[in-house]
């Protein structure tokens, strides 16, 4: 046995004051490995004040580890008596300390663990440490095996109890794993051997309480356990999602083990299950009779011939199992008696759920099916006429449904079934296939989850059409007068074919489109009501598909990048496009915030998912397609010669859209989407109409009619920054910057419109589009950049600045000096005006982090700015990138570098930042120490602070210094 030296009083008295600070206390106790210190530390009050849980900002509670309890865990095997006494007296809600107490219980000898057991039970109950119950089970098992059965039972009683006062949610959300691991693997095997009856009574009580905890789980004695635990034995139909269902398995195992190992007789076990009122216990009772029929064959026979059980609804599975497994115990006469019950048929015929007619034939069919189900229980024992009957029925129906269960759950499937395969449709030929598809109806006899649906058929039809799009496209008109769902799938197949570069008969397809567009939009063509809302009831989805198809047609290019569909289709295409504009404006995407504030709404997404928006995109696609037929090589042309004069139909339609009374955001968005195209097609037209298209000021009169914001937000989203656009939209940019000062919600994600506005302006500024001289550019054009970074909403200006660093971190190395100078000026002006205040308000700011880490800016300037930034924002990020760069350039300014490290260390309140850049911090601190002077002093202070945070390995740097010195 290991021996330890006893500390002298002098040593103890000299040591205690050194442990005043929590850091030194932790340092010492984490390393102390001598049990003789327990008593003096106890006398000095070291074990009296475990840290209490503390609330953390943002919600939640945090617990600190307690070095004292860790020390006691280590000493538990050496000084179990003292450790048990101390831990038993601790009163704390700190679950880390509670875990240590449990761990100490595992470490100490059973006679001492028994003293700690009540405390462990209390902690589990009070703190809900369910996940530790596997360990607690282990302690109980050890106690039970080593003559501490009383303590084991008491521990289990407290720790594993089910508190009925706890809500259903509590029961469901707690960690079941530990509970059942502990109960099944440790508690039951050990306690059954020494206290079988006591444990089984406990289990019965907990089982009842688990049933009662689940609201709506019982009506009188019926606990519906045949639903939530279909079989008592392990069974593939058991879906043990909840606590009670899992507990059934433990109760069963405990009874089986007790009887099998001779700790309890069957005749003593069964009465225990007769007392509780719930059905589950009747089922357990039957289960045990089945399992241990050889212990009492007469009881098994009596039970099988109990007529009341024959029709007992809730016990069907266990009764069926008893019959199946023990039918052979019955005499021939008894077997015949039981089969007479089958012969007699059901006492009461349940009404048919399929609403079949109640004629004699139907009744007979159902009676025979009932007999077939019952015979299925004893299928291995059947002879003669009953075997013949069973086999005939088996051939007819296959395995009977729900013969011994009340519920059945399959693995579940996704998608829809089709009555035909694509191959079967191919064999029919197109015309017959279309007819077969259009005529198909769901057989009312085949209602069910696994049965075919219209959607399933439509999907297969699309697959079939895709097999030979060219041939089938020429027969497109066969689809006329057919339900919308199949027409849509046909057109989708055409769209996919065009996208894949396949040929189609465009004339026929456009003719079908025209036919669709001539149908009343709200015409109901659905072939069935059986699919609920899954099948479209009108032509709108089909019209949307036409819009998508037309876009693909206009985009389609051949190998030479010329349009695949010739200009001869111009009129037909336009004839199909134009009526699409009468589509509704409402988006399929429902957003609560949509249209509340059009300035911050994601119009591109809403427009893309609205009928009118898709139709407008088809118009724009057409406008993009036409010039390829008008000019030889459009890349050679700065603009389309003749402009919209070459496409008056487009111009007319666009102008109509701007003035139509039912104009809407989703329609207007399309103007912003392809602004570059409109600029190339007819820049003069765009200049003339820009203020109408992008009428942002309408927001002041009526935000619900400020459609210009849809075009604007879409423009910002879909177009790269270009000075040509800025020149046309100068007023809009200026107005939007002003609006950015009035925002109530942050706009800091790159997907948000005002963040995109910031990015546009920053790119133009960086390029020198506002002037090459840095100061001049900052104040140019009514100081638009200055306003952006000083007066807009904090989130917008912060994003503008952060965007520079984020952009430059990926390949800004070769940036011209004048661009770098402009950005440096931008930062300095921002920082001076408002940046420092922003950073102080947001200690976790990333605003300068990417600037520093991108490596574009000279190191001296970067370190000076970083120090200012980190002084204001102690949790500056991305800290690991900052530190990586700092470690590589710290020799340039070791003093500032050391100060920066110190501030970042101090900012790591959570304790997870420093570990990610310890190596870099070490590099910086070594450099500062080598530099000497103030840098060295600062570095030593930082090392000290790191040591106090537990990073004691940094102490080596001081020793190194001593060695060097």
């Amino acid at each position: 046995m290991q021996s330890f030296s006893k500390p002298t009083n002098e040593l103890i008295e000299a040591t205690i004051p050194l442990l005043a600070s929590p850091q030194h206390e932790r340092y010492f106790l984490d390393r102390l490995d001598n049990p003789h210190w327990i008593t003096p530390l106890r006398e000095h009050g070291f074990f009296q004040h475990p840290p209490a849980p503390e609330e953390v900002s943002g919600g939640g509670v945090r617990c600190q580890a307690w070095p004292q309890s860790r020390y006691l865990v280590r000493m538990a095997s050496h000084a179990p008596k003292e450790v048990a006494e101390i831990l038993a007296e601790i009163d704390s809600d700190n679950w880390i300390v509670a875990r240590d107490i449990i761990e100490a219980g595992e470490e100490m000898r059973p006679e001492y663990a028994a003293k700690l057991a009540p405390k462990i039970g209390e902690l589990i109950e009070q703190l809900g440490l369910w996940y530790k119950l596997d360990d607690v089970g282990g302690i109980a098992a050890r106690l039970a095996r080593e003559n501490e059965a009383d303590a084991a039972v008491d521990l289990v009683k407290t720790a594993f109890a089910i508190d009925r006062r706890k809500t259903t949610t509590t029961l469901r959300h707690r960690d079941d794993y530990g509970y059942f691991e502990g109960l099944r693997d440790s508690v039951i095997p050990s306690l059954i051997a020494v206290r079988a009856s006591e444990l089984l009574e406990l289990l019965i009580r907990w089982m009842s309480e688990a049933i009662e905890t689940e609201e709506g789980r019982r009506i009188g004695g019926d606990d519906f356990s045949y639903v939530w635990r279909p079989a008592i034995e392990d069974h593939e139909q058991n879906r043990d999602f909840d606590f009670a269902a899992k507990l059934v398995g433990c109760v069963r195992d405990a009874f089986e083990l007790a009887i099998r190992d001779g700790h309890l007789r069957l005749s003593d076990a069964l009465p225990m299950l007769e007392e509780p009122e719930y059905l589950l216990f009747r089922r357990l009772h039957l289960h045990l009779i089945t399992e241990f029929a050889d212990h009492d064959p007469e009881l098994a026979r009596r039970t099988m011939l109990d007529r009341s059980l024959f029709g007992a609804y809730g016990c069907k599975h266990e009764h069926a199992r008893l019959m199946g497994q023990r039918f052979g115990l019955l005499s021939k006469q008894q077997q015949a008696e039981w089969l007479e019950w089958i012969e007699a048929g059901p006492e009461k015929m349940e009404p048919d759920y399929r609403d079949e007619s109640e004629d004699d034939e139907s009744r007979q069919r159902r009676r025979e099916y009932w007999q077939f189900q019952k015979l299925h229980w004893i299928r291995d024992h059947l002879t003669d006429m009953w075997r013949t009957f069973y086999e005939r029925k088996f051939e007819e129906h296959g395995k009977p449904d729900l013969a011994d269960l009340h519920v059945y759950s399959s693995g579940g499937r996704w998608g829809h079934e089709s009555p035909y395969t694509a191959e079967q449709l191919s064999e029919m030929g197109f015309e017959a296939a279309v007819e077969a598809v259009a005529r198909w109806r769901l057989d009312p006899e085949q209602r069910g989850l696994d049965e075919p649906t219209v959607e399933g058929l439509a999907g297969t039809f699309q697959e079939y059409v895709a097999l030979d799009a060219l041939t089938f496209s020429s027969q497109a008109r066969q689809l006329e007068d057919k339900p919308a769902v199949y027409v849509r799938r046909f057109l989708r197949a055409m769209e996919a074919a065009v996208k894949e570069g396949k040929q189609i008969d465009l004339v026929s397809v456009l003719a079908l489109c025209e036919w669709v567009l001539n149908r009343p939009v709200d015409e109901d063509t659905s072939p069935t009501n059986a699919d609920g809302g899954l099948v479209e009831r009108d032509w709108q989805w089909c019209r949307d598909t036409i819009a998508d198809l037309l876009q693909e047609i206009c985009k389609a290019k051949d190998d030479a990048q010329r349009p695949r569909f010739g200009v001869q289709h111009r009129e037909k295409l336009w004839a199909v496009i134009k009526p699409l504009l009468n589509s509704p404006t409402k988006s399929y995407i429902l957003r609560e915030d949509a249209e509340k504030d059009p300035r911050i709404t994601d119009w591109p997404q809403l427009a893309l998912n609205s009928p009118r928006g898709r139709a407008m995109n088809a118009v724009v696609a057409y406008a993009d397609w036409m010039p390829d037929h008008l000019v030889e090589d459009r890349k050679e042309q700065r603009s389309l010669p003749g402009g919209f004069e070459q496409m008056p139909e487009v111009r007319e339609l666009l102008e109509d859209q701007l003035t139509r009374p039912d104009d809407h955001f989703t329609a207007r968005a399309a103007f912003g989407w392809r602004l570059g195209l409109l600029f190339w097609l007819d820049a003069d037209w765009l200049r003339r109409h820009a203020d109408t298209i992008f009428d942002l000021r309408a927001y002041e009169d009526d935000p619900s009619k400020a459609f210009g914001w849809a075009a604007w937000n879409t423009f910002l989203f879909a177009n790269r920054p270009r000075i040509e656009f800025y020149r046309i939209l100068r007023d809009q940019f200026s107005y939007a910057v002003d609006q950015a000062a009035t925002l109530e919600k942050p706009q800091d994600s790159r997907e948000q419109p005002f963040a995109q506005l910031a990015e546009h302006l920053i790119v133009l500024y960086g390029r020198g589009d506002f002037g090459r001289d840095a100061s001049e550019a900052f104040d140019a054009d009514s100081a638009i950049v200055k306003r952006l970074v000083t007066t807009t909403h904090e989130s917008v200006r912060s994003h503008a600045i952060e965007f520079v660093g984020m952009t430059l971190k990926d390949g800004g190395e070769d940036l011209p000096k004048e661009v770098v100078q402009r950005f440096k000026n931008l930062w300095e002006r921002y920082w001076e005006a408002i940046g420092a205040e922003d950073a102080e308000r947001n200690p976790g700011s990333y605003v300068f982090g990417y600037w520093f880490s991108c490596g574009v800016f000279d190191p001296e300037w970067s370190i000076v700015q970083l120090e200012k930034f980190v002084t204001a924002a102690r949790k500056a990020g991305p800290d690991h990138m900052i530190m990586k760069r700092l470690a590589s350039i710290c020799n340039i300014d070791p003093l500032r570098s050391a100060r920066i490290v110190g501030m970042l260390v101090d900012g790591d309140d959570e304790g997870w930042r420093v570990p990610s850049w310890k190596g870099e911090a070490r590099t910086v601190l070594i450099a500062a120490m080598k530099a000497g002077g103030e840098a060295k002093d600062v570095a030593e202070q930082v090392v000290d602070r790191l040591g106090r945070r537990g990073y004691v390995e940094f102490g080596e740097l001081l020793e190194k210094k001593s060695d060097d010195g």
Binding site: L11, T15, Q23, P51, R949
Partner: protein, 234 residues
């Protein structure tokens, strides 16, 4: 060590230098003195003086001076460190002087119909009532405020990254040390109690170590602890 004789003609700087040479200044003490000089300069001389006197067992009245220094440092340190902290003292004497000036004689408080023994209530001037109320408010506030020792360790714990609460074991132990010295501060009619030199040094060191654990170099402390651990873990 030979007895120290005060020489009124000696150069104070020289005396100090000689004393410093005579007293052990381990790293812990050096760091603590430096900290006092930087963070609580008004208390640094008292600490330094106490350290010096500790090295001069024959210096007349040294225990009294050392005890005063320790008590005053313990009591005032937090107020020196934290400028914004209001003093916890209540000016009882000042308040009582004000009340006394306005307090009417008993005869004036009773009209002829009742006597001081039988009266259930009396009227006093409003200004006196205000003074009494103010005195009681301050007294109550003092009782409810954390002690200066709690405040001191709260201040020292500010830099603790774990943001743990102040350890009451520590406060209590610090109060004990302070109390031990406090008992030695008063001059008595009779001869001063004999103080065990070893106890004096131990208590003083405990006082120093407690403060150093917070304000000194972390690794100076761990080096001392490493030595102890090496000895005790064997």
């Amino acid at each position: 060590m030979s007895a120290y004789v005060v020489n009124p003609n000696s150069n104070p700087q020289l005396v100090q230098g000689e004393l410093q040479a005579a007293i052990p200044y381990p790293p812990l003490r050096r760091e603590l003195l430096r900290w006092f000089q930087q963070e609580a300069p008004s208390l640094a001389p008292a600490y330094e003086g106490a350290v010096m006197l500790l090295g001069l067992p024959t210096f007349p009245g040294r225990v009294h001076f050392i005890a005063h220094a320790v008590r005053d440092i313990a009591d005032r340190l937090v107020f020196v460190l934290d400028d914004g902290l209001p003093s916890s003292r209540v000016q009882y004497e000042h308040h009582l002087d004000s009340i006394q000036d306005q307090w009417p004689s008993l005869d004036h408080l009773f009209d002829g119909s009742s006597s001081p023994e039988s009266a259930e209530a009396v009227s006093i001037p409003a200004s006196v009532a205000r003074h009494i109320s103010q005195l009681l408010t301050e007294h109550r506030g003092r009782r409810q405020r954390p002690s200066q020792y709690d405040l001191l360790f709260q201040w020292l714990m500010k830099q603790d990254p774990s943001h743990a609460a102040v350890n009451q074991r520590l406060v209590s132990s610090f109060k004990d040390i302070r109390q031990w010295f406090m008992a030695l501060t008063h001059l008595r009619r009779t001869a001063p109690p004999q103080v065990d030199e070893e106890q004096l040094c131990k208590r003083f060191e405990a006082f120093e170590k407690t403060l150093h654990s917070f304000v000194g170099s972390f690794f100076t402390g761990t080096r001392e602890l490493d030595a102890i651990l090496q000895q005790t873990n064997q």
